[in-house]
């Protein structure tokens, strides 16, 4: 099971994840930082778009990790 992880301290609110996969990502309306709507997407196409969002995130604030695993992440 893959889990979407966001580092809110790194996030700069560019919103590129929301443009890429609005089913998984949203923004806090106060400070613009990322809100994860679904942290364990299972659909392959959604996961592909999550990986694209990870790649284009300008602050490298997103990652995909094996849930429950420690430290093994897919970072950009």
């Amino acid at each position: 099971m893959l889990q979407v992880i966001a580092d809110l301290d790194r996030c700069v609110g560019a919103g590129q994840c929301v443009l890429t996969e609005p089913g998984v990502f949203d923004q806090d309306q106060e400070d613009g930082t990322v809100v994860i709507l679904d942290d364990t997407p299972e659909d392959e196409r959604t996961i592909t778009r999550v990986r694209e969002a990870i790649h284009i995130c300008p602050s490298r604030a997103l990652a995909l990790a094996e849930s429950g695993a420690s430290g093994r992440t897919d970072t950009p």
Partner: protein
């Protein structure tokens, strides 16, 4: 020690980076001499530029010794630079204070008003003489009006800051004149803020005042957003119209299916990368990029236009291809400073192209591209005018 090559900053063809920049991809981290005689490093690979812009060891501080492409001579130091020139932790705090104003949801909420502004300007274009200048009739006033309304700046004053914005970005005019232009916009903002402190308004500047923003910082922010919202989107509108009028199949695809428009916009952004030098930096310590150690204090120029055609990231990057999926381009920069207004720009560009070509389907250039005058002297590439007819 061989002389490093002099790096030209001007494009000879609107659809291509300077040949010398393309040449530099053979040496992706290159020591170069800038037109003013100073030395810096030039990066031309997408992954190197992304790594550099995401690395906090490179500074955005325009006042730091070694920061490249700054006007020569002594510069008047403002109390604090606007966001674009700040490093962590100040940068994060300043950006977070306004992020809520630029969320995707907020930008989408602006669509009806932007649509109205675009429609009014297309009405004006149709009611006016032919040929018309698309730059003064549509490309410049639309984003100008949008940013003025968002900030709460009277559009009636747009001539005042348009001339000063152009001066500030013009590399060919004396530094003191450029600094004077910056100071005049800043003073204008300071006066406006004092006025809004007395009579509160519900706009970005008014809301920042209500949040207790520092007056000097807010003047700098207003100045930055006004400038950035003015010059960039306007230039992309005119360059985009020119490009689409010369590429009938891309234009036909856009007219046929509104779902294609965002892809077209993304490809245009990649293809022109109009503000590539804005993402220059200076090294705060020795840092290795692309296998080369850049010493502390050295400036780094980002050749974004070449990087956005890097074969490692974009197959056949010199070709304008609306089907390529160009979203990983760096036309808006990368890292924590990535353009705050990028999603506003996307919305504006989408609405302008959809509306203009739907309402004037037989729009065409009233001249050849050879006769067009481009902003070769400006830090932000664009067109001085674009004669069109229908």
């Amino acid at each position: 020690m061989t002389e490093s090559p002099v790096l030209p900053l001007t494009r000879t063809c609107p659809y291509a980076p300077p040949a010398e920049h393309v040449q530099l991809q053979q040496e992706p981290v290159a020591r170069v001499t800038l037109p003013d005689g100073s030395q810096a490093w030039a990066l031309s690979r997408l992954e190197d530029i992304r790594a550099m812009l995401a690395d906090p060891r490179f500074s955005s501080d325009r006042q730091r010794e070694g920061f490249p492409l700054q006007p020569p001579g002594p510069r008047p130091a403002p109390p604090r630079q606007p966001m674009i020139g700040l490093d962590p932790p100040e940068h994060g705090e300043a950006r977070r204070a306004v992020l809520g104003e630029f969320t995707i949801r907020r930008m989408n909420a602006l669509r009806p008003r932007i649509q109205q502004i675009v429609d009014e300007h297309v009405d004006g274009l149709l009611a006016g003489p032919r040929p018309a200048d698309l730059v003064s009739a549509l490309a410049l006033p639309v984003p100008s009006l949008v940013i003025c309304e968002l900030l709460g700046v009277p559009y009636a004053d747009h001539d005042f800051f348009q001339t000063r914005s152009a001066n500030l970005l013009d590399r060919t005019i004396p530094a003191e004149k450029r600094y004077a232009a910056a100071n005049e916009i800043r003073e204008y903002m300071a006066t406006l803020i004092i006025q809004k402190e007395k009579q509160p308004t519900d706009d970005l500047i008014g809301r920042q005042i209500a949040k207790g923003a520092d007056r000097e910082d807010l003047a700098g922010l207003g100045f930055l957003l006004l400038l950035a919202g003015h010059e960039t989107t306007g230039n992309m509108i005119s360059l985009g119209v020119m490009t689409l009028l010369e590429r009938p199949s891309a234009l036909a695809a856009l007219k046929q299916d509104p779902a294609v428009t965002p892809e077209v916009v993304e490809e245009l952004l990649r293809y022109f990368t109009i503000a590539e030098y804005v993402t220059s930096r200076v090294a705060r310590e020795d840092v290795e990029i692309g296998g080369v150690v850049i010493p502390a204090g050295d400036g780094v120029i980002t050749l974004g236009n070449v990087a956005n055609r890097d074969p490692a990231a974009f197959a056949d990057g010199d070709t304008f291809d609306i089907g390529r999926g160009a979203r990983h381009h760096i036309a808006f920069g990368f890292g924590p400073h990535q353009c705050l207004g990028q999603n506003l720009a996307r919305v504006e560009l989408q609405i302008v192209f959809d509306t203009l070509f739907a309402r004037i389907p037989d729009l065409r250039l009233a001249t050849t591209t050879d006769e067009l005058s481009f902003k070769d002297e400006s830090t932000v590439y664009g067109l001085h005018s674009l004669p069109v007819t229908w």
